[in-house]
């Protein structure tokens, strides 16, 4: 931590949040809001004189409320930057008449109530997303009486109680009587491995965290009765099994089964009822203290960041990597990398390993002062452009300039174009060529697909980032679906021109599916909004012309939704079976007119 704080090339913005990111790999403009600290970060020596005189006492978040702090405080002794901070909501000093005692106490005059939030922009070439985790909150479900019984703690609270820097200087005491407990029980999988109570996944760290804690207890209190209630112990890493056997050897009692009931005893102790799966018996234990091994959840800002950067999430809510085996730290968006629990629950060693990997992946791009840009971009055929301005309206990147009033034809800033192709789909005059996904190339694919027995085929447009990847995921998961689906890949569902759909029906397609990323997940900010508009438009026109609009479907499938993709294809097949050859023939005749 201090190494990072002292490093001449690392600039740390604390109390800060990323509020907007524009641009692409090589040149991201990141807008950051830095909240006021009200203490000069560079001048403050963390002497603590200010806190001594502060009259406002509040629970200390770092110790999870097990101790208190003042309104002006240092988060913890080793904090980086080593500077105090004022919580402006708690401080009385905004009205100097009321307080301002800290101002007088600070000899170096580092405190400034007039400091205000700052907004600034940093330009960077690559981004490492290391947003961490949120510990599971057992309050919502009041698991094992956490909110009712004071001597039921979370594993994180326990960490603070045995930490030499914690509220009790590392002496473990019970919250009710502040006496050292004679017996401690750990309950595993709180908030994990249960879709009903918390999350269905394994949080990865809780088994080893508990085993470590039992050893810490046994080291200091060899006579303490330590019990662990578990489903199964997952000690899969290097040296993990050794630690587990050591814990057992030192007399920690492992009971297979999670408690069904916890009640408080008059002395503050807890009576735990467990069905021991190993023995089949219902067992009762009286313990002085219970520790809930809480699981890991995605950090709270995950979704906001995901939307800002156009990234994808797994169904668990963690960030989705570009490839689970071969690109485990890359985001699908070039220049963005994941480190730590942002990508999934992991321990410190794994987080550090992944962080180093992410750093190297970023360096791999940054080591040259130039980067090859996207070749798949769009181009204007100036002679055909009528300067109507529609392309500029739909471009999510403001990469197109056009002046409809002065009739100045459209121009595309290639560096800003990311190749979604929504402009080409929107242009009514065919004046935009979307390279590598040209109209002609796509028509060739449609024609070939429908050349023989079109009535049996399901013409599907799939975007590269979500629905095509979701189809791949269905394959990786070996999910079986009807074999008559034929996918045409485009970079974005926004590339799907209304004309492609009409062309498909004209060539005898019974049904057509347009698929893309969920709204809000679009890899091209919001280009898929135009997909919705176009599909709705075609469906309206179909209805007017006497065609059943159900034959055109729009579905969102994320890269992680293999199951959903297979379901959608099964549903499409049912739809297809409802389209008779007569209906197809009528459509073809109607559209050929």
């Amino acid at each position: 931590m201090t190494d990072a704080g002292r490093h001449p090339r690392i600039k740390i913005h604390t109390l800060s949040q990323v509020v907007d990111i524009k641009g692409n790999v090589g040149n991201f403009d990141v807008k950051i809001v830095k909240k006021a600290r009200y203490v000069d970060e560079k001048e403050c020596t963390a002497c603590g004189d200010c806190a001594k005189v502060c009259p406002v006492v509040r629970p200390d978040e770092f110790n999870l409320g097990l101790s208190s702090r003042r309104a002006i405080y240092s988060p913890f002794p080793q904090a980086v930057p080593s500077a105090y901070v004022i919580n402006s909501h708690e401080c009385l000093g905004h009205n100097p008449v009321v307080c301002s005692k800290c101002l007088d106490a600070c000899e170096k005059k580092c405190i400034d109530f007039h400091m205000s939030d700052e907004t600034f922009t940093e330009r960077v070439g690559t981004i490492v997303v290391a947003t961490g985790l949120k510990p599971h909150d057992p309050r919502a479900l009041d698991e094992y009486g956490f909110t009712r019984f004071e001597n039921v703690l979370t594993s994180l609270e326990f960490e603070r109680l045995v930490n030499a820097g914690g509220p009790t200087q590392g002496h473990l005491i019970r919250p009710t009587d502040r006496k050292p407990p004679k017996s401690v029980g750990f309950i595993q999988c709180v908030g994990s491995r249960s879709a009903r109570r918390g999350k269905s996944y394994c949080s990865n760290i809780c088994c080893m965290n508990t085993i470590k804690s039992t050893l810490v207890l046994k080291e200091h209190h060899p006579d303490m009765a330590v019990k662990v209630f578990y489903i199964d112990i997952r000690a899969f890493g290097k040296g993990f099994e050794d630690l587990y056997t050591r814990s057992r050897r030192q007399g920690v009692h492992y009971v297979r089964g999670l408690p069904g009931h916890v009640e408080e005893l008059p002395n503050g102790g807890l009576r735990v009822a467990v069905e021991n799966i190993a023995s089949g018996a219902l067992e009762f234990f009286e313990l002085d203290m219970l520790v809930l091994a809480i699981g890991i959840e995605p950090a709270s800002g995950t979704q906001r960041l995901q939307e800002m950067l156009g990234l994808q999430l797994t169904p668990d809510g963690f960030f989705l990597e570009a490839h689970p085996k071969l690109q485990p730290v890359d985001a699908a968006t070039r220049g963005i990398f994941y480190a730590g629990c942002a990508e999934g629950p992991k321990d410190i060693k794994e987080s550090v390993t992944q962080a180093s990997a992410a750093a190297v992946r970023a360096i791999r791009l940054m080591q040259a002062d130039q980067i090859t840009a996207e070749a798949i971009t769009s181009e204007v055929i100036t002679e055909q452009c009528k300067a109507c301005g529609k392309c500029a309206e739909v471009c999510p990147y403001n990469a197109i300039t056009v002046d409809p009033k002065k009739k100045i034809p459209a121009q595309i800033a290639t560096a800003a174009c990311t190749g979604c192709g929504t402009c080409a789909a929107e242009c009514p005059f065919g004046a935009i060529t979307m390279n590598h996904f040209t109209d002609q190339q796509i028509y060739e694919q449609i024609d070939t697909l429908l050349a023989e027995r079109p009535e049996e085929k399901i013409l599907t447009f799939a975007c590269n980032w979500c629905s095509y990847a979701g189809a791949d995921y269905a394959g990786v998961s070996r999910l079986q679906y009807p074999p008559n689906a034929r996918l045409i890949r485009t970079m974005c569902s926004g590339r799907v021109d209304e004309a492609f759909i009409w062309h498909g029906f004209k060539k005898g397609a019974p049904v057509i599916l347009v698929s893309g990323c969920h709204i809000g997940d679009c890899h091209y900010i919001n280009a898929n909004h135009w997909t919705v508009k176009r599909v709705e438009n075609v469906r309206k026109k179909m209805e007017k012309r006497g065609l059943r609009p159900e034959r055109l479907q729009l579905e969102w499938v994320s890269a992680a939704e293999g199951v959903r993709f297979a379901q959608v294809m099964t549903r499409m097949e049912q739809l297809r079976q409802g389209v008779s050859s007569q209906e197809i023939a009528e459509t073809v005749t109607l559209l050929e007119k």
Partner: protein, 209 residues
Amino acid sequence: MKPSTTSITPGTAADEPRIGVYVCHCGKNIAQTVDCDGIAAQLASLPDVAVAKGIGYACSEPGQREIREDIETLGLNRVVIGSCSPRLHEPTFRQMLIAAGLNPYLLEMANLREQCSWVHMKEPQAATAKALDLMKMGVARVRRLQALSEPKLPMTQRALVIGGGVAGIQAALDMADNGYEVVMVEQQPSIGGVMAQLDKTFPTMDCSI
């Protein structure tokens, strides 16, 4: 050491398309369900197709060598590969085209594994028919593909790290130690994250800070 830049040779998108078509067996991954050699034989008679054949592992070095040699000896100027998802090996095969002196965008891939053999495992006939369609679509598309070039853009040699926990700190230090400037954004008043709250950590059993 200089990075391996993907300098693209302009390559020819010569007027007369000469297409090489390869149907990868992927060991048994595709060949178990799809009659790879059978569809290759059917594809060989399509217009502009100079060669069409099954291939054991297209992505392997011998597989790539075989295609490269065909490009040279048969004067191929476009390539269709039916194999795994382009999301996996498109970069591999584009590099192969570059090595053979072709523009990497004159490649088309048909997804015969993730979107065919693996999802229709119990219907080999239908899967083979689908694979043939996907390959034909690939051939139709590759005829129309054009050589593209990748413009160069400036790279800001500076990184943003969002989050100052153990992962963020490690990533920032590694990049900074390698000479890159790093901007770290942390919403709390101190960096350290959850790790800083932990007591002793396995396996060294030392303090986490």
